[in-house]
Symmetry: C2
Subunit: 237 residues, 2 copies
Amino acid sequence: MANSTSTSDGLLAEPKTLVESAYRALRRDIIEGHLAPGEKLRVEHLKDNYGVGAGTLREALSLLISDALVVSQGQRGFRVAPVSLEDFEDITQTRVMLECEALRQSITMGDDAWEADLLAAFHRLTKAEEKRIGSDDREEWEERNRIFHEVLIAACPSRWLKHFLSILYQQAERYRRLSLYLQPIPRDIHAEHDALLQAAMSRDAEKATALLGEHILLTFRSVQSIPKDQLNEKLAA
Amino acid sequence: MANSTSTSDGLLAEPKTLVESAYRALRRDIIEGHLAPGEKLRVEHLKDNYGVGAGTLREALSLLISDALVVSQGQRGFRVAPVSLEDFEDITQTRVMLECEALRQSITMGDDAWEADLLAAFHRLTKAEEKRIGSDDREEWEERNRIFHEVLIAACPSRWLKHFLSILYQQAERYRRLSLYLQPIPRDIHAEHDALLQAAMSRDAEKATALLGEHILLTFRSVQSIPKDQLNEKLAA
DNA sequence: GTTTTTAAAAATCTCGAGAAAAAGTATTGA
DNA sequence: TCAATACTTTTTCTCGAGATTTTTAAAAAC
C-alpha cells in the first residue's frame, strides 16, 4: 500500500519500546554517515548518547545486524558495517536483477488501485522535489523517493523478493547520499521517474524494467565517478 | 571454499559467547520443529531451558530475527516465525530465481579449484547417503547437502546473492524436514545431484540451471502433495 | 446471559553492577 | 633499540532485580 505513514520499518513498528527507539536512532545515524563505516560501536560509550541501558543498546545493535548495517565479532563488540565501491557494485547489480523482476510481476499483477497508488506516490515525490529547491529538506524527498520505488513493486506477490529489496534499498541509501552531495554526473532524476511512471502505467514491462535498471545503475556510476580521495574523505566523515 | 568445518553460521562464528550458544541452540530447535511455528517464546521460561540470563536470551532472539526465524511485536514479546504453504512456495520460487542465476555465474567464473571442491563436496554427500541407509544420521547428510549446494554457487562473485540464498536455504530447511519424513513422491535425490554435478563440471550452464530449478521445485511439490491434516499435525508438533 | 469493570497474575522491558576478556601501557631483559 | 612479559585500564559480556505493560480471571452491571 502507498501508506504515507510507513517509515521503512525494516523490522519494527512504531517505537513503543526503548529498544526500538535506539534501533531507529542508530539506523538513521549509520545511514546518514554520522557513525562512520567501520567505526567501533562501544556500548558503554553509546548508551549515554542514546539514553538507554547497556543491555537495551546491545539488543538494538543486534537488530541492526539484520539490516547488515552492523557487524559483530565474537568477544570484540560491534562495528558499523564497512563500505566499499565493490560492495556498492554488488548491491546495485543484485538490486537491478531483483527489482526488475519484481517490477515485471507488479506490472502484470497490478490492478486499478495499484495504478492510483503509483500516481499518488509520484505526485507526492514531485511536490517534494519542487519544495526541495533551495531548502535542504532532504529527509522528505528521500522518504518519498523510497515510497515511490516501493509502490512500483507493491503489486509483486513475492514477500521475500520485497523483503530483500528493502534491505538492498537501505544499503544503497548509504552510498546514494554521497552521489547527491557530490554529483558529478548531471542527472534529471525527475525525468527518469516520469518515464518510469509512464511505462508502468501503460503496462510496458520491457520498457519499464529497462528504465528502472538504467535508473539504478546511474546512481552507481555517479558514485563510481567521484574521485577516490574525495570519496574517502566523505566516507570517513 | 568448500570448508568442511563451516557450519552455516548465518551470522556468527564459533560459540565463544553465551549469546552465540543460545542463538545456535534456538535456531536448531526452530528449524527442527522442536519449537513449533507461531509458538510464543517466553523469555522467563526459556532462559532456564537454555541456561542463560534473560538479557542474553533476548539478544539471541534478536539475532534470530535476521534469519526470519523469529518475529517480535512491540510490547508483546517474541514468537517463532509462522509457516505456510504459500510462504514455502514464495521461498521456492525466489530461491529458484536467485540460485539459478548464482549457478550460472559460478559456472562462468569457477576455476579448477572450484571444480575440485565441487567434486569433493559431492563425494562427501554420497558417503553420507550410503551411511544414512537405516541409521537415522540425518544431521550429517543435511549438513553435507547444504555444503554441496553452497559449493555449487561458491564461484559466484556476488556476496549479496549468496547471503540471501543462505537465508532462503535455511528457511526451506524447515519445510524440507517434512518432505523427507512423509515423502509421498518417490525421488532419487542422489541421481538429481549427480546430474547436476555432471552439468556443472562440463560447464553446461543451461542444463545445470534447468536441473537445479527442477531439483528445488521438486521438494516444494513433495511438501505440497502431503495431505493437509497430516501436514498441520507435523507443523504443530 | 452477555458485556463491562476491576483486580490479580504473568510477561515484557529496562537498568545497574559484577565477572571475563581484550586492548593498551609500562616494565624488564637482551 | 627492540622484543617479550607483566600490569593496568578499558570494554565486552552476563546476570538478577525492579518498573511497565499485557494478559488472564473474577466480579459487577446491564
